[in-house]
């Protein structure tokens, strides 16, 4: 396997692919001190695939040891490097993809080159950002995708630009599916669901869709709907409304936050939407409820 280093701006192979910042394969035969210290931040999403050797890295301030066929994903803004300050001996390949910075709210959005729908990209982003473990072990499929991208870029056969972009999409899909599987055991749906519930509570103001929730636990929407309904008695969206209203009641009783802020904090579109939903369920408007529940014991 030959080493190569393609960088945006200089490598002609990347001319058609403005979103590929860097693509490389490196066989590291010697240790060079202070060549790879922690803190290197970047606006790219960086994928590192290990082919030979053992690498000790610090990703987002956590220590990881990577072995052959492991894949590391470093998100924009996360720190990355080796505590020892040098790259271990071995062979690895990496791919840096530019994150679209046109939308500051959504820190990572793939560009127009991607065939993944924008709704799904938001979900992918959510999964990557909520994921606490940036290393997927033994992901040989990622190696195959790296190999195929390399072949396409160097042989430039008919249709190669479409193929390269498809392969990058495939990598994103593979990684997110693998992460949800790794993080959620199908043996234990109650446990998986409890984890989802925690995530929902921590991001209550987000406008969750069923697709997003299903993807977070690594299920298709049909299976997800059915399992949630079976387990909780509610559809996923109704379950979410339960959590929103529960949190709203807590805040209403605290008498500190105003009703409009409570509405937005708990994920309702507007205070009107909050008020209608709340009244339908409890018979009170939020302000009536607040007044009625400040009775002394």
């Amino acid at each position: 396997m030959n080493q190569f280093l393609l960088q945006q701006g200089s490598a002609k192979e990347l001319q058609l692919f403005a979103h590929i910042n860097e693509f490389a394969l490196k066989r590291n035969n010697s240790i060079r001190l202070n060549s790879f210290s922690t803190s290197s931040e970047s606006d790219c999403i960086r994928f590192y695939y290990i082919m030979e050797g053992k690498f000790e890295w610090t990703i987002n301030d956590q220590h990881y040891i990577l072995y052959p066929w492991d894949l590391a994903i470093i998100l924009p803004g996360q720190t990355f490097g080796a505590e020892k300050g040098y790259l271990d001996i071995g062979t690895l390949s990496w791919l840096h993809i530019d994150a679209d910075k046109s939308d500051p709210e959504i820190k990572m959005l793939l560009g127009k080159w991607s065939g993944i729908s924008s709704g799904e990209i938001i979900t992918i982003k959510k999964i990557l950002w909520l994921n606490g473990n940036p290393v997927i072990s033994k992901l040989r499929e990622a190696g195959t995708i790296f190999q195929n991208i390399q072949n396409e870029l160097f042989t430039q056969e008919l249709g190669y630009s479409a193929r390269v972009n498809q392969l990058i999409d495939e990598l994103f899909i593979l990684v997110t599916r693998q992460l949800t599987r790794q993080n959620n055991s199908h043996r234990d749906f109650p446990q998986t669901f409890l984890k989802l519930e925690k995530t929902l509570r921590q991001n209550l103001s987000h406008q969750w869709t069923v697709e997003e929730m299903a993807a977070l636990v690594g299920l298709g929407t049909t299976a997800f709907n059915e399992k949630v309904k079976n387990f909780t008695g509610f559809s996923p969206l109704n379950y979410l409304i339960n959590i929103r209203i529960s949190e709203a009641i807590r805040l209403l009783k605290r008498n500190e936050v105003n009703v409009t802020d409570i509405a937005l904090e708990t994920g309702f579109y507007s205070s009107q939407h909050f008020s209608t939903t709340f009244k339908k369920l409890t018979g009170y408007t939020p302000s009536q409820f607040r007044k009625n529940n400040s009775s002394k014991t």
């Binding site: 055991s185 199908h186 043996r187 234990d188 749906f189 669901f193 409890l194 519930e197 387990f231 909780t232 008695g233 509610f234 109704n238 409304i241 339960n242 959590i243 209203i245 529960s246 949190e247 009641i249 807590r250 009783k253 605290r254 008498n255 009244k279 339908k280 369920l281 409890t282 018979g283 009170y284 009536q288 009625n292 529940n293 400040s294 009775s295 002394k296 014991t297």
Partner: protein
């Protein structure tokens, strides 16, 4: 125009979910609906639930249920009766707002407090007065823990409620608790039916900080106007404070003679008997809870019921195909049936979660014993189930020191698996009746309501209406084998105390 039919609704605030069931006045189920809520374990011994989530889930389920199943079919709701899991504590401030989450029965943070009080003379007299074993499950110990470890919250607390008291207060505005649920707090004297001064003093609270005590048949008051409107109910719908899940399950099981016992095994389990007197046990191994003033539900609870087999299935079940957990457990049980009783000498102590009755040892742990080179996976499966049921039998056996038990009634998702029901009959050597898919807690709450309404003269008459079909009879040879192994199981359970404590301290 057809006259409207009357119905009774029961609301069960269970450990994992709220279940709403409607009955016609003859006791036939009209329909039911459930909604679940999670338990949070923020620290190893902690077990908490969000009171607002329980309230809103209950309200949501009740409203949907009324709309879809009751109003749509033109039923008139004459009565709503509550039941709830025992031992929960929810501190509220002077404005009635919860101070954090509710602490559930499974919470063990008061281990040290429990042990201390249990070993003292005061502990003994409090147990005799209140009927509740001195254990971290009891609200007495939980409140004491708050006093010792969370002074700020303890000081801010205007009242210590149960989850049920909180839900009823939300709906009616009144702070109440029934004798029955209160008899499981460790704070109420089951003989005088008043808050027990010694227990309150130990916990550092006064009676004003507890809800008002009511008989199980009492009504706390009407639903607030707003809820009447949103639920489509009128002011004539009577609200009954009701009882606890354990007491109502016993009533709903129709076990109302002193020579019968009820075995319930869901995640956890219990063996219960009913009687007009409390069980006086020197070694304080039983609870004595009150249903009504002359009726005690006594028995012993276990932590290690179906949850242990579920644990086993998650570790060793075949998940290579997209099977769910229930299917995996079924497959495992099919494997286990291939062996003879006794699993060829492999024994299992199921104390993965520590144990309550009869050991009352929070440090007890699981053990496989007697393993030899010929044992295979199926031996482990069968031994695991046998171990869970030996534990149940060890509770039943000590109950028999006080009552002579002739027959059993079995309930709960784990105990009612046919393989388990037969094994219970074989191990106990007694006939077992099983009512399939029966929600005995809801039925108990119905019987309570119907008695209050005068449909039955008293609870005795109400309990006798419960039909118990599906009898399982013991096989003598099986019983002989099980008893040989049980002797070793029993010795083993108490032999390892020192080792249990050492290993628990290292975990």
């Amino acid at each position: 125009m057809a006259a409207k039919s009357n119905c009774i609704i029961t609301i069960e605030l269970g450990t994992n979910a709220v279940r709403v069931v409607a009955f016609d006045l003859k006791g036939t189920t009209i329909g039911s609906m459930k909604g679940s809520y999670p338990t949070f374990h923020t620290e190893p011994d902690y077990s908490e639930q969000d009171p607002e989530q329980i309230f809103i889930t209950m309200l949501y389920v009740l409203k949907n249920f009324l709309t879809e199943k009751i109003h749509a079919r033109k039923y008139d709701v004459v009565c709503i009766c509550f039941s709830a899991a025992m031992h929960s504590v929810l501190p509220i401030n002077k404005n009635g707002a919860p101070l954090g989450n509710a602490i559930t029965w499974a919470d063990n943070r008061g281990k040290k407090e429990g042990q201390e009080l249990n070993e003292s003379a005061l502990g003994k007299s409090i147990y005799q007065a209140t009927g509740t074993p001195i254990h971290p499950m009891s609200p007495l110990i939980k409140i004491t823990w708050l006093k010792n470890h969370d002074q700020e919250k303890f000081k801010q607390t205007s009242k210590f409620l149960s989850i049920k008291s909180y839900i009823i207060q939300q709906l009616t505005g009144e702070y109440v608790i029934d004798y029955s649920l209160a008899s499981a707090t460790g704070l109420m004297n089951i003989h005088t039916v008043k808050w027990e001064a010694d227990a309150l003093a130990y916990a550092g609270i006064d009676a004003k900080q507890l809800p008002e005590l009511l008989p199980v048949f009492a009504s706390p008051g009407q639903l607030k106007k707003e809820y009447q409107t949103s639920l489509g109910l009128s002011s004539s719908t009577k609200i009954l404070v009701g009882s606890s899940d354990g007491c109502l399950a016993t009533l709903g099981a129709g076990v109302w003679e002193e020579d019968k016992a009820v075995i319930t095994i869901e995640d956890s389990g219990a063996v219960r008997v009913v009687g007009k007197t409390v069980l006086q046990d020197e070694r304080r191994r039983f609870f004595n809870y009150l249903l009504t003033e002359d009726c005690y539900i006594s028995g012993g609870p276990t932590n290690n019921g179906g949850v242990i087999f579920e644990w086993f299935a998650k570790q060793f079940g075949d998940f290579s195909k997209p099977f769910d957990l229930e299917f995996c457990m079924e497959n495992l049980i099919n494997e286990a049936t291939k062996l003879e009783p006794g699993s060829d000498g492999l024994l299992f102590l199921p104390y993965l979660l520590g144990e309550r009755a009869p050991l009352w040892n929070a440090n007890a742990r699981g053990v496989y014993f007697g393993l030899n080179i010929k044992h295979e996976k199926q031996h482990f499966i069968r031994a695991t189930i046998e171990g869970i049921l030996y534990e149940i039998y060890s509770i039943g056996k000590i109950l028999e020191e006080h009552r002579s038990i002739k027959a059993l009634s079995v309930h709960g998702s784990f105990a009612s698996l046919p393989f388990c029901t037969q094994m219970i009959a074989d191990i106990f050597n007694k006939p077992v009746s099983l009512k399939k898919n029966a929600d005995s807690i809801a039925l108990g709450a119905f019987l309570l309501s119907a008695t209050e309404m005068g449909i039955y003269k008293n609870l005795d008459e109400a309990a006798k209406t419960v039909i118990l079909p599906d009898e399982y009879f013991p096989k003598k040879q099986h019983n002989t084998s099980y008893m040989k192994y049980f002797k070793i199981f029993e010795r083993l359970s108490t032999k390892l105390n020192e080792e249990f404590e050492d290993i628990a301290n290292m975990q």
